[in-house]
């Protein structure tokens, strides 16, 4: 893998999806597909939400959440950042990030525990 380069690449979500609305998984996937190859090359990436008016969890799960299935957490912390996000959108991103970490860590155990719980109620 190439060395980490110091110059940060700014990926502008608005330009990738061509709209101020991050309200679909498919648009989130387009953003992800811009970010992931750069991280794989060891580039620093900052995702800008300038001119984005509305985002939802499905968009963020596809754009950012799935990175946790592809890269170790410390790599994401080292190379990836966001900017130009409103405080409310940051709150949603926090939920998405925390959920993605759990989703990729202990999904099977989590589901098994639920099955047992539901089985007890019946």
């Amino acid at each position: 893998m190439p060395e980490t380069t110091t110059q940060e690449i700014i990926v502008r979500a608005f330009d990738v999806i061509g709209s101020p609305l991050g309200v679909s998984s498919d648009d989130g996937q387009k953003v992800h597909d811009k970010i992931a190859p750069l991280l794989r090359e060891g580039r620093k990436v900052s995702l800008s939400f300038e001119r984005i008016e509305t985002i939802i969890s499905a968009f963020l799960n596809a754009a950012i959440g799935q990175l946790y299935g592809e890269f170790p957490e410390d790599k994401i912390r080292e190379l990836f950042s966001v900017r130009d996000m409103s405080p409310e959108d940051l709150a949603l991103l926090k939920r998405v990030v925390d959920n993605a970490k759990l989703y990729f860590k202990n999904r099977a155990q989590f589901d098994e525990a639920w099955k047992e719980e539901l089985g007890r109620e019946e």
Binding site: S24, S25, G28, S57, A58, N61, E73, E88, W114
Partner: protein, 287 residues
């Protein structure tokens, strides 16, 4: 077939009546359904969304539908929001601009839905809220819509309708689909014969999702639940014979099953709370 539909409020009884309509009319094929509203003394405008979904399923089996004997006050409400114009009634102007008109979207119409929402919410209370609350309210509505897009498999589309109550400072919006329902997806995923009520409760828990694969899920409905709690709003989710109401938990419809899934959201537009993060968490340390 003639079916007499009683009063329809955003309540368990209202949903029971729509479920009964479906259970009786589901057998029709290339016939006629006369929906008689003479015994309906009240109709919550937003409930046109699940009624629209049920009627779309009936019409899909080549049945002709006629809505008759509608009382004048109800006819006026359902003409103003455009619902009855689908059944041959003349439109009526919404001079007070308090309705979010009845609309039907296809599953890939996310941007059309966004345009609808933006156009319809202007002047209906959301601008009076703080910018942050308005933003989170819109996110919540989008989450409901996206949930239907992702999980419903509703080839007949997604049905939306709402009503703004300026004096009460409340906005009701309902999103219904005519898809497979929450239970079937959760059963297939958990490989467990959960009831509809349990399936709804399962889906509301943070981290629970029937999604598999590289894109995580399980945030949207929990986000919605937490928003309703903080906003002082209301939420109902109905699917199959499962009936969930925020504050009262999960229960069952006693008489029949409603196809697809419906989410009723009531937003308190007088809300001025903050929906921001704990100040210790920033864009720099969020990952």
């Amino acid at each position: 077939m003639i079916h007499k539909l009683g009063t329809i409020r955003s309540s368990r009884e209202g949903f029971e009546r729509l479920a009964l309509l479906w259970s009786e009319a589901a057998i029709l094929y290339s016939r006629e359904l006369e929906l008689d509203l003479s015994e309906c003394d009240f109709f919550d405008a937003n409930m046109a969304a699940p009624l629209g979904a049920v009627l779309a399923l009936i019409a899909d089996k080549f049945n002709r539908i006629e809505i008759v004997r509608v009382r004048p006050a109800i006819e006026s409400v359902l003409r103003r929001n455009g619902f009855l114009t689908n059944y041959g009634y003349r439109p009526e102007e919404d001079s007070g601009r308090t309705t979010l008109p009845f609309a039907r979207f296809q599953l890939d119409d996310e941007r059309l839905f966004a345009d609808y929402l933006k156009r319809q919410l202007e002047g209906k209370g959301i601008p009076r809220m703080t910018e942050g609350v308005g933003k989170v309210s819109q996110q919540s509505v989008f989450e409901v819509f996206q949930n239907a897009v992702t999980h419903s498999d509703s080839r007949l589309g997604i049905f939306v309708c709402g009503q703004f109550f300026p004096h009460e400072q409340r906005l009701n919006i309902t999103i219904a689909d005519a898809g497979v329902g929450i239970r079937s997806k959760v059963r297939a995923y958990l490989k467990n014969d959960v009831s509809s009520g349990d399936a709804i409760c399962w889906a509301l828990q943070g981290g629970n999702t029937t999604r598999t694969g590289s894109r995580p899920g399980g945030v949207g409905l929990k986000f919605l639940h937490d928003f309703v709690e903080r906003n002082g709003g209301k939420m109902q989710i109905v699917s199959g014979d499962g009936f969930y109401e925020y504050g009262n938990g999960c229960g069952t419809l006693r008489l029949a099953e409603l196809p697809g899934a419906t989410v009723n959201l009531e937003i308190n537009t007088a809300d001025t709370q903050s929906y921001r993060l704990d100040s210790k968490i920033t864009a720099q340390n969020i990952f």
